[in-house]
Amino acid sequence: MVAVQYYLLLSAAIFCIGLFGILTRRNALFFLMSVELMLNAANINLVAFSFQYGNLTGQVFSLFITALAAAEVAVGIGIVLVLYRNFGDVDVTKATTLRW
């Protein structure tokens, strides 16, 4: 049995990678994918701790997260599409009409 700490490390690594992606990539789709990675990091934690504590709470919650992640992507893609329609691009740094 692998100690739960390693899963924590793994999830932290993935969370950070996702965060890194969000901070560095300008394409909205990368942004979406990076968020998915981060949410998965949370899921890994939940499942791992659920296994450790022996209750299903974490697993159930990870399901919710999965479902909501899917919904979020759906909404997100809708927004990306209208962004593309209005700005002709999916570069998130291009949309800067509102600032200051």
């Binding site: 924590l8 981060m38 949370a42 939940l46 919650f61 909501l68 209208v82």
Partner: protein, 507 residues
């Protein structure tokens, strides 16, 4: 929650579960009803019927909530109703905030009737709004981190769509994008924070977490990171620094009624859930030995109100100024969290709740006035508002009430609530926060008075000709103004409920 066996569960609620969650159900069902209507007749542009239905739904929910409040449901020390295994908690605070959400939603829907005239997808608009309201009502009642997360997303996802509702308007789309991106990032952080808290406690139920934490924990660091990440999630929802970046953009770009809805109701929702999570799950007594999150909120409050007000001070556009002021007000309310554990918990939290209630009306009203201005197409900057006071005196009197009340001048309830917060800060010895509040109030008075100046003092350049006085917008603006004003002498109607509900959390 299999692992959760609390004694309170054995006491059968005095009323049926359905009755207790009636407001939430009413909101949700109205949304579904609109969905049905829309699918039967997708091209309907009968906005009166749509808005009427939506408004009826929120009004019913409001009435139901008020009845529940009046009936004392879930109130008093230890009187909270725990439904569905403690996943939902109906108590004074939940109902109090449901009043805010439903009132704001009603105002916004009534105002949207005029604002949306001649636009397509009206049914979807109302439906999304109702769904978001449902999510908020659920947030107020959330009893575990799982319901917190789900309801928060339920409130957020429709909001993203609402902000980007005018899909041919670049501002609206950009606002939606930014809101969504920051929201997604924040919800990821939030989820990760929840997972860490779960990792430390093995529980998601708020009271269960509190029980677990009161025994102390070895994983202080993990818990701390988790708690702060959870706080980050709330900070996003409440537009607190540094999670506030979306707010100015989203409020500015979104249709004004949506801005009103988000800046009032959505913010309140973020706060109610933060209050509940931090007061119950991470209650100061439980985490006294491990994570001093009041310090974090102290910093957040200080930075949030300062950034919000300072940035608002030099804005050119009224809507954006209101957006930043909304950030500033989040900072005021955060004092309620920062001052917890100072021996005045019921008082300070009650003051924050009261402020959110008043804010729900005065800020909504202010944004709806902006909606009115957008309806008249007078422009967005302060200069564009010059001389409006002569052309539309009633609406401008209402706007003046909002501005003064926001600034904490006694023509509205904002005076009372702001000073109650200040009392809380002083009473718990947070003199630095009190001083910051002072500085920021001064600054806020400056920029709010710029609106008054534009409306009443400056002369119009003559280019603005107001056509028509839209009934719905007027009704909403004037209604909000009347309530804002009445909350000054009538503040006792709300303040006792708020302090009692807040105190009940610390029973």
């Amino acid at each position: 929650m299999a692992g959760l066996t609390l004694p309170v569960l054995q006491t059968a609620p005095p009323i049926s579960d359905w009755v207790a969650v009636a407001p939430v159900l009413l909101l949700g069902l109205t949304a579904l009803a609109l969905f049905v209507v829309d699918s039967i007749d997708p091209d309907s542009s009968n906005s009166a019927a749509l808005a009427g239905t939506a408004a009826a739904g929120t009004l019913l929910a409001l009435v139901a909530t008020l009845l529940l409040l009046a009936g004392g449901v879930g109130q008093g020390q230890g009187g909270a109703l725990r439904l569905y295994g403690g996943q939902l908690i109906i108590d004074g605070m939940a109902l109090f905030f449901t009043v805010i959400f439903t009132s704001v939603a009603t105002l916004v829907i009534v105002a949207s009737y005029d604002y949306l005239r001649d636009r397509v997808y009206q049914a979807e608009y109302y439906m999304l709004m109702l769904l978001a309201a449902t999510g908020m009502a659920l947030m107020a009642a959330a009893g575990s981190l799982a319901t917190v997360f789900v309801s928060l997303e339920l409130a957020s996802l429709p909001s993203y769509a609402l902000v980007a509702f005018m899909k041919d308007n670049r501002g609206s789309v950009e606002a939606g994008l930014k809101y969504f991106l920051i929201g997604a990032l924040s919800s990821a952080i939030f989820a990760y924070g929840i997972s860490l808290v779960y990792g430390v406690t093995g529980q998601l139920g708020l009271e269960a977490i509190a029980q677990q934490l009161s025994g102390g924990t070895q994983l202080v660091g993990v818990l701390g990171v988790g708690v702060l990440m959870v706080a980050g999630g709330f900070a996003f929802k409440t537009a607190s620094v540094p999670f506030h970046f979306w707010a100015p953009e989203a409020y500015e770009g979104a249709p004004a009624p949506v801005s009103a809805f988000l800046s009032s109701a959505s913010k309140a929702a973020g706060f109610v859930v933060a209050f509940r999570v931090f007061a119950v799950a991470f209650s100061p007594e439980a985490v006294a030995q491990s994570v001093d999150w009041t310090l974090a909120f102290w910093l957040l409050a200080a930075v949030t109100m300062t950034v919000g007000n300072f940035a608002a001070a030099t804005q050119d556009k009224v809507k954006r100024m209101l957006a930043y002021s909304s950030v500033g007000h989040a900072g005021y309310v955060l004092i309620g969290l920062a001052a917890l554990g100072g021996g005045q918990d019921g008082l300070v939290l009650g003051a924050s709740m009261l402020h959110l209630l008043v804010y729900g009306f005065m800020n909504t009203g202010a944004f709806l006035f902006v909606a009115l201005a957008e309806y008249w197409e007078v422009g967005r900057t302060f200069e564009d508002y010059n001389g409006l006071g002569q052309q539309a005196p009633i609406a401008c009197v209402a706007m003046s009430v909002f501005m003064l009340s926001l600034a904490g001048i006694p023509v509205g309830g904002g005076f009372m609530s702001k000073y109650f917060i200040l009392i809380g800060a002083v009473g718990t010895g947070h003199f630095v926060l009190a001083a910051l509040l002072l500085v920021n109030s001064a600054l806020s008075l400056y920029y709010y008075s710029r609106v008054l100046r534009a409306l009443w003092v400056e002369d119009s350049d003559g280019s603005v000709a107001i056509e028509g006085y839209p009934l719905g917008l007027y009704a909403a603006v004037v209604g909000a103004a009347i309530v804002t004003f009445l909350l000054l002498p009538g503040v006792f109607l709300a303040s006792d409920v708020a302090t009692a509900a807040a105190s009940a959390l610390f029973a």
